[in-house]
């Protein structure tokens, strides 16, 4: 069953178009990275999925319309907007009491077990916690909720490296399974590269790339061309070229590795490399988007 399905999803703010006909399908049990530059429509897309904003077009989340059936939907959907949203006046124990009181699928013992591994005291107020600890608290609350869809919008923004690493480790080891779906947006692409099962690029309100990580590795290849072979490599139609230490690095979409191997060193590009190729960079054109 598709966890999220959108067809022709549109959203405009006055004359500005935030979502310009988004089509996407996210299956159950996937971890999807939604990557895009600032203002590309990521947050608008997530807000539509979470029923926080009205939209045009078709959208179903877990088989429900997120705008008209939001109250029901939120029993199965969880989200972390960013680190600053836990109310500062709240005590840790109050947060546990409150979520236990309103959420039918909250397992308090699980949240407490997670918090016991941290230095967060139950009597502490959120305003007394560091940014990293607030995120740990929020993660503890969210992981103890037996939700089917978890949406993370820049969940590790402003955290130091240790907290960021443990955030994703915990999520994978203690939370994720085939019955759950995670959608995450972040600018720190390299951090989530290895945990994703799918990646989507969004730019100017459109999905410009939608690819599973398996297909990603077979489809995209980066060639560090030997200087004498650079013209031959360019003739094969790279989607992007950059220069590093005077050598041409060319990114190919769907060109067989055997064909490229004689021309230089091959490697699978990082998501960040592909992101620059598809969305940013002076050498790209609008037609690159069609490659997806």
């Amino acid at each position: 069953m598709a966890c999220i399905e959108a067809r022709g999803l549109r959203k405009t703010y006055g004359s500005a178009t935030a979502l310009d006909g988004v089509d996407l399908r996210i299956e159950e049990g996937r971890i999807v990275g939604l990557i895009g530059p600032n203002g590309a429509g990521k947050s608008t897309a997530l807000n539509a999925i979470l029923g926080l904003t009205p939209y045009q077009g078709e959208l179903t989340v877990l088989g429900r319309d997120p705008w008209t059936q939001r109250d029901l939907l939120m029993q199965d959907v969880c989200f972390i907007a960013d680190v600053a949203v836990l109310p500062r006046w709240m005590r840790v124990s109050q947060a546990l009491d409150y979520v236990e009181g309103v959420h039918p699928r909250f397992d308090r013992a699980k949240a407490e077990a997670f918090l016991a591994k941290t230095t967060i005291r139950a009597s502490a107020k959120v305003s007394q916690l560091s940014k990293g600890m607030v995120t740990q608290l929020h993660l503890a609350l969210v992981m103890a909720i037996d939700a089917k869809l978890l949406v993370l919008d820049e969940p590790t923004l402003g955290l130091d490296l240790l907290y960021r690493k443990s955030f994703y480790d915990t999520l994978l080891n203690d939370y994720f399974d085939a019955g759950r779906t995670i959608v995450v947006t972040t600018h720190q692409v390299e951090e989530i590269q290895d945990i994703l099962t799918d990646v989507m690029f969004i730019n100017r309100g459109r999905i410009v790339l939608d690819c599973s990580m398996e297909a990603f590795a077979s489809r995209y290849v980066e060639l560090m061309a030997l200087p004498e072979h650079a013209p031959a490599a360019r003739a094969l139609g790279p989607i992007h070229e950059r220069q590093v230490f005077g050598r041409a690095i060319l990114l190919f979409d769907g060109v067989p590795r055997e064909q490229l191997a004689p021309l230089g060193e091959l490697r699978t590009p990082s998501i960040a490399d592909l992101f620059v190729a598809v969305i940013g960079g002076p050498s790209t054109s609008a037609s690159m988007g069609a490659a997806a």
């Binding site: 500062r88 006046w89 009491d97």
Partner: protein
Amino acid sequence: MSTPSYAAEAPRPRAPAAHTRPFFWSLRREVWEHPALYAAPLTVAGLILVGFLISCASLPQRFSAGLVLDPAMQAARHAEAYHFTGFAIMLTSIVVGLFYSLGALFNERRDRSILFWKSLPVSDLTTVAAKACVPLVVLPVFAFAIATALQLIMLAASTVVLAVNRLSPASLWSQLDVAQNGLLFLYSLAVVTLWYAPIYAWALLVSGWAKRAPFLWAVLPPLALCLVEKMAFGTSHAGGLLMDRLGGFSAGFSPGAFTQRGVVDPLSRLDPARLVSSPSLWAGLVVAAVFLAAAVWLRRRREPI
């Protein structure tokens, strides 16, 4: 790069859904967030108590002097002190309620905590209903409990002081009808709360709408409306409506209830029949309901500031 192996892990079995009480916990968290709801009336009660205890020094003289008055007059005098207490605590509650309402749907958007509240299965209707219940139910209940407790403490203190001075508190007790005073206060609280319901609802609506300065947005447009009407047509219907809303709760009391002095049966001042037959009361309640419905609608759509 291959799909990570953990993706194949089987789903964990789901626990059955637990019973929840979203409204109760929404109300509870409002009280957690706003200790002023009870701290402010408690502080006023504390100050009154301090003043009262100081005045107890002269109580025996006053009491003795009062004994020559006729009993009904004495009762009125004693009751006055208790009425003042209730009035002060009620006024505090109203001020706290207004400021609470002006912040209730504004602060959560400003500090973005609305995104946390909205990540949980609590509907906007439940949330706004809980927030409206604070000035309409929680504050009056707190005010009544605190004022009643204070009046009992004051009565006990008077009794002790009189007893120590070998004066019989019997006349104090016989003339002061604690239950009747409680009833008077409860009725007054209910009338004023019902009468002010559209004001609280307006404050909640503005707090859910304004992007900044909800206080100014709540206060200035109605005043501007009065001013424009006066300048344009020389009339003051808007001003009249506003004044009726602020002071019209006298409809709950018999005519002249606030100017009569001396020997009157206190309960005769209450006039529930006049209250429920006042179109102003019902119009106000309808307006309050419309404002609250609009606040629910807005909370669904407004984004963090």
